[in-house]
Amino acid sequence: MNATRWLVTLPPTVFLLAFFLAPALIVVAASFREPGEFGGLAPFVAPSLEAYRFLFDDIIYAEIFARSFLVAALTTLICVVLAYPLAWLIARSPAKRRDLLVLLVILPFASNFLVRIYAWIMLLGPVNLLYTPFAVIAGMVYVHLPFMILPLYTNLEKHDPALLEAAQDLGASAWTRFWRVTFPLSLPGIFSGAALVFIPVLGMFAVPELLGGTGDMLIGNLIKEQFLDNRDWPLGAALSIMLTVAVLALAGLAAWGARRGLHGTEAVS
C-alpha cells in the first residue's frame, strides 16, 4: 500500500511546500531584518532580533493578543450555538432538500464581502449598535458562520439514526440523548469548525475596521498597519509569526485534547 500512500499524500504536500512553505520562509526571514528607510527592507547586515525585542518589551502587544483571542473564542462559541440546530436540521432532512439547505447556507457568501458589511452598517446604524464591540462580534459571527455549519453538518450527517432510536427505546430523554449520544459523536465536527472559525477570526481586520468603534483594534489590524500604513515589514512579519505560532500551539493542544476526548466517545458508540 506504500504506493497509494504517497500517491495520496504527495500532491497536496508538494503543492503546499512549494506555494506555502517556501514563500512563508521568505517572510520569516524578513522578520529578522531591519525596515528600509523608504519602505521594504534595509540592506542585510546581520540577523536582527530588534522586531521581536520591540514586541516583547511592551505589555501592550500582549494585551492585543489576549483581546483578539477572547474575541475569537467568543465568536467561535456563538457560531457553535447558532450552527448546531441548523446543521442538525440539514443532516436530518431528506437528501433532496438537504442539498438546497446547504446551498442556502453558502449562497449569501457568493455576494461581495464589502457589500454585506455595508448592509450591516445600514442595519446597525439606526439602532445605535454600529461602531460597538457588539457590531464587531455580530460581523465576525456572520462572516464565519458557514465555516462552522458545514463541518458540523458533514459530521452529523453520518451519524446513524438507529443509535438515537436505540437510546430512546432504552428510555433516554431527548436531552439525555443529545448530551450522551449526539453531542459526543459530533465533537470532531465542532473541533474542525472551531479551527476554521477561531483561526481566521484572529487575522481578520476588515470587520473591526468597518464595524468596530474606537477601542476595537485586534491583532489583524495591527499586522495590517505594519504592512499597509507604517511600512514596517519586519514588525508585521514578526507579529504574524508570533500569531501563527500561538495558533498552531493552541491547535496542537486542542488536537491532543480531542484525541483524548475521542477515545472517550468511542466507548459511547
Binding site: E37, F38, G39, A42, G215, L228
Partner: protein, 369 residues
C-alpha cells in the same frame, strides 16, 4: 455507520455535475484581447473621466487599461514586493519620494511634454522631486473637517477649527457623532497642527503631547474611519468627520442628489492642515513610456486636466484647467485654498524607520487605550 449506498453514488454523480457546471460559466468569460498598443495605468478609481479616456484612446489609437488602488501604501507594498508592468502611477508626494529613493521610477522626458507650461508655478519643483525630474503634478486634496451644516448651526459649533474634534466642550454636544481618519499620520498631523506644531516635527515629546490630546478626545468619537464616513455623513449617522476634501465633496453631492433634509459642508481648519499632491510618474517596469508620455501631455491640456476637479472635487495643479472647472468648485476655498492659507498647509513626509516605529507604538496605544 451508514454503509455506502446507491444514493451516495448519486451524490458522486452530482458533484461531478457541479464541476461540469463550471464549464457553463466559460462563455461569460472573455479572454483579454491580444496586446497591441495598450497603456497600463495603476491609478485611484474614478480619477480620470471615462469620456476623457475615450478621447485619448481615439487620439492615440491605443487602449488604456486601468488597475486600481485605494491607498498609496497598498500600491507601494505591491510594487515593493515586485509587481510590474505598470506604465503610469499617480502617487502622493511622500510616496513619490519613496519610489524615487527606491529607484523605481523612470525620468520624465520634458521634451515630450509640450503642455508642461500649463502647470501652476506653486506646484513645480516640489521637495519630493526637486526639478520635477520624475513627476508631473496632477491633483490635490486637503485633509480637513466635513460636517452636517444644519446640525453645526443649530449647536452653534465652530467648523473652521480642529477644536471641533479635540476640545471636550465641543465634543460634549456631538458625542458619538464624530469619526476621525484611521491613519496614524493623518490624525496625529491634525493634532500637531492644533497644538501649533509642524506635521514634520521630529521631537518625540511633541508627538507625545499630540497623543495625549487624541486620547483625551477619543471617548467622544464614534470610530476611526477611512471610507465609511462618506456614506455616514450623507445619510446623517455622523455629524462631523475628519477626512479628505474629495470625500467631503462626494458626501455633499450625494446628500444633495438624494434630497437629504440637511446640507454637508467642509472647511479647512484655521490652524492648518495636510495637503496632498498626487503626481503622474512613470514606473520603471512599464513597457510603453512613449504612450505614458503622450498620456501625461494629453492630461496637461486644460480641458482634460479640469476633469479631476469636476469629477471628484479635487484641487487642480493646472492653470489652463481653471477656465474649464465648474465655478462652484473653482470657488470653493476648501478645494482651492486662498493664498493666505497656503503657508499653513503642509505635506506629509516619511520619517526614518526608528521614528516610524516609535510613532506606530503611540498609535497602537491610541487604538487600544
Amino acid at each position: 455507520m451508514r454503509p455506502p449506498s446507491r444514493q451516495s453514488h448519486g451524490d458522486s454523480l452530482r458533484s461531478r455535475r457541479l464541476l461540469l457546471a463550471g464549464a457553463l460559466a466559460l462563455p461569460f468569460w472573455r479572454v483579454t484581447r491580444a496586446a497591441g498598443d495598450v497603456l497600463h495605468l495603476y491609478n485611484w478609481n474614478n480619477y480620470i473621466g471615462d469620456a476623457t479616456l475615450a478621447r485619448f484612446a481615439a487620439a492615440c489609437g491605443c487602449r488604456v487599461r486601468q488597475d486600481y488602488y485605494s491607498d498609496n501604501e497598498e500600491m507601494l507594498a505591491k510594487l515593493e514586493a515586485g509587481a510590474e508592468g505598470y506604465d503610469l502611477l499617480v502617487p502622493t508626494g511622500n510616496a513619490v519620494e519613496s519610489l524615487i529613493r527606491r529607484a523605481a521610477l523612470r525620468p520624465i522626458d520634458r521634451e515630450r511634454l509640450p503642455h508642461f507650461a500649463n502647470l501652476k508655478r506653486e506646484f513645480l519643483d516640489p521637495w519630493f522631486d526637486p526639478g520635477n525630474r520624475y513627476s508631473v503634478p496632477y491633483a490635490t486634496s486637503i485633509t480637513l473637517l466635513g460636517f452636517n451644516a444644519d446640525r453645526m448651526r443649530a449647536l452653534g459649533l465652530p467648523t473652521d477649527s480642529w477644536a471641533l474634534i479635540f476640545e471636550p466642550e465641543c465634543l460634549e454636544k456631538i458625542k458619538g457623532k464624530v469619526t476621525v481618519l484611521n491613519s496614524q499620520r493623518e490624525l496625529m498631523a491634525a493634532a500637531m497642527r492644533y497644538l501649533g506644531h509642524s506635521v514634520q516635527e521630529r521631537d518625540p515629546a511633541k508627538w507625545e503631547a499630540a497623543k495625549r490630546l487624541i486620547l483625551r478626545a477619543k471617548p467622544w468619537w464614534a470610530t476611526f474611519s477611512n471610507s465609511t464616513y462618506i456614506k455616514d455623513l450623507a445619510i446623517g449617522n455622523i455629524w462631523v468627520a475628519h477626512g479628505y476634501s474629495n470625500d467631503m465633496f462626494r458626501a455633499r453631492e450625494d446628500a444633495k442628489a438624494a434630497g437629504r433634509p440637511f446640507a454637508i459642508g467642509f472647511a479647512t481648519p484655521q490652524e492648518g492642515a495636510v495637503l496632498a499632491v498626487d503626481s503622474f510618474v512613470l514606473h520603471r517596469s512599464g513597457r510603453r513610456p512613449d504612450l505614458a508620455h503622450r498620456f501625461i501631455d494629453f492630461m496637461l491640456e486644460g480641458e482634460n486636466a479640469a476633469d479631476v476637479s469636476n469629477l471628484i472635487g479635487a484641487g487642480n495643479t493646472n492653470a489652463a484647467a481653471m477656465a474649464h472647472i465648474l465655478p462652484e468648485i473653482a470657488g470653493e476655498p476648501a478645494i482651492f485654498p486662498p493664498p493666505a492659507m497656503l503657508p499653513r498647509l503642509e505635506m506629509l513626509r516619511d520619517f526614518e524607520p526608528r521614528l516610524r516605529r516609535r510613532l506606530a507604538r503611540m498609535w497602537t496605544e491610541i487604538k487600544v487605550r
